[in-house]
């Protein structure tokens, strides 16, 4: 398939260049929701690794998670927010007391200390979406608007991970759990198609 005339070589080179660019593009698109969760700056705050869990059909609530770092000298406070896909957003804390799971709303919000960071994650603080209007589908990105006392309102995209995901990249916190999350995710999609 060797060409000797210049136009062919030029065409091939141009094609190669185009496909190369395309490859980089595809790679970056693939990379974005998985490894590189969106980072958003709001005043002195940096919001990173924002994600949510896919919700099973019929679920009326969902959980959102993210890390907020305060690079400023004054404390700030996450006081609430809103989403399009649910009626209400609340800030909750889950805690295990022995074998009992305890949930409580934090009506005064969550303080982000100066020079500190607060992580909302499964098993702890989370954004609670009440009255889901539609299921959160794995692989989707859904915007959430957060309200801070000082930094004001800021919108960040949540990358939707699997139903049993334990972190933003869908990996388990412990060795074995990540694999289970994977199994469950496949299972869920399979079952949803049957419905």
């Amino acid at each position: 398939m060797r060409s000797t005339t210049l136009p062919y070589q030029a065409a091939t080179a141009a094609t190669l260049a185009l496909i190369g660019l395309l490859a980089v593009g595809i790679y970056l698109i693939g990379l974005a929701p998985q490894a590189k969760a969106q980072s958003v700056k709001a005043g002195d705050l940096m919001i990173e690794q924002a994600w949510a869990r896919a919700t099973p059909p019929g679920a009326r609530v969902g959980g959102g998670y993210l890390t907020i770092t305060n690079h400023g000298a004054a404390p700030d406070r996450l006081i609430g927010g809103s989403v399009d896909f649910a009626e209400r957003l609340e800030i909750h804390e889950m805690a295990m007391q022995g074998e009992v799971m305890k949930m409580r709303a934090l009506p005064d919000g969550l303080e982000i200390p100066p020079g500190g960071a607060v992580t909302l994650k499964p098993g702890g603080y989370h954004l609670m979406f009440m009255g889901l209007k539609n299921a959160l589908e794995q692989g989707a990105r859904v915007p959430v608007t957060l309200a801070f006392e000082r930094a004001g309102r800021v919108t960040v995209d949540l990358a939707v991970a699997g139903m049993g995901a334990k972190s933003h990249d869908g990996q388990g916190a412990h060795g074995g759990h990540g694999g289970h999350g994977g199994h469950g995710e496949t299972k869920m999609q399979h079952n949803m198609q049957q419905q």
Binding site: G175, G176, G184
Partner: protein, 214 residues
């Protein structure tokens, strides 16, 4: 000039293969080998403590059919109490449970898996069924009247309490452990929320091993 599309096509095909291979490798990287199950024998804490759990119940399952303790007789089962308005511990546990079933392989069929709501006011059987099936077809969803649920919570010593939220809404605090029950309906073991996957699978396997051969 008429060969140009052919050349472009060939180059594109070759590059697609390479890109495809790269993407497949990246997205389907083999999982790190899992640690072999830690040593240690399965001891039934329940037997040591002389705890009695379980007992008769009469609830509703998929399609509105009645489902009682008699329907569970003869096969060991794992029973978990939760609710569908639960964002964290319930989907996590059901998802883990589905993964453990996969790990058990054919042995998974030696057990039954039961998901009982602690929130009968909001969880009707349609909701419970759709929810449970999202994780595994094997999970049996159960709900009932508040009185019927109260009875099974008492029998299994499950703590469940409403936590009021804004606008008259509520969430629930509840026991999040999975109870493992023998073929005779007697308490055998418990999978704690904190248990690692290998511990959970080991406990389920022990329960399946103890199952009467059918």
């Amino acid at each position: 000039m008429r060969n140009t599309p052919l050349i472009i096509g060939a180059v594109a095909a070759a590059l697609s293969l390479v890109i495809g291979a790269v993407l497949v490798t990246r997205f389907h990287a083999p999982e790190p080998p899992q640690q072999a199950a830690s040593s240690g024998t399965v001891t039934s804490q329940a037997e040591e403590d002389g705890v009695t759990l379980g007992g008769p119940f009469n609830l509703e399952t998929t399609g509105g059919a009645r489902f009682t303790d008699a329907d569970l007789a003869g096969k060991p089962y794992a029973i978990f109490f939760g609710f569908t308005y639960c964002p964290d511990v319930c989907p996590t546990t059901l998802n883990d449970l589905a993964g453990w079933m996969d790990e058990l392989g054919p042995q998974a069929g030696a057990l039954r898996y039961v998901f009982v709501t602690v929130d009968p006011e909001r969880d009707d059987i349609e909701t419970m069924t759709r929810y449970a099936r999202a994780f595994s077809e094997r999970i049996i969803p159960l709900t009932g009247t508040p009185e019927e649920i109260e009875a099974i919570l008492d029998a299994y010593k499950i703590y469940a309490a409403k936590v009021p939220l804004e606008d008259g809404d509520y969430t629930m605090n509840h026991t999040a452990a999975i109870y493992l029950m023998g073929a005779d309906g007697g308490f055998a073991d418990v999978i704690s929320y904190k248990d690692e996957a290998e511990t959970a699978v080991r406990k389920l396997r022990a329960l399946a091993d103890a199952a009467p051969v059918s």
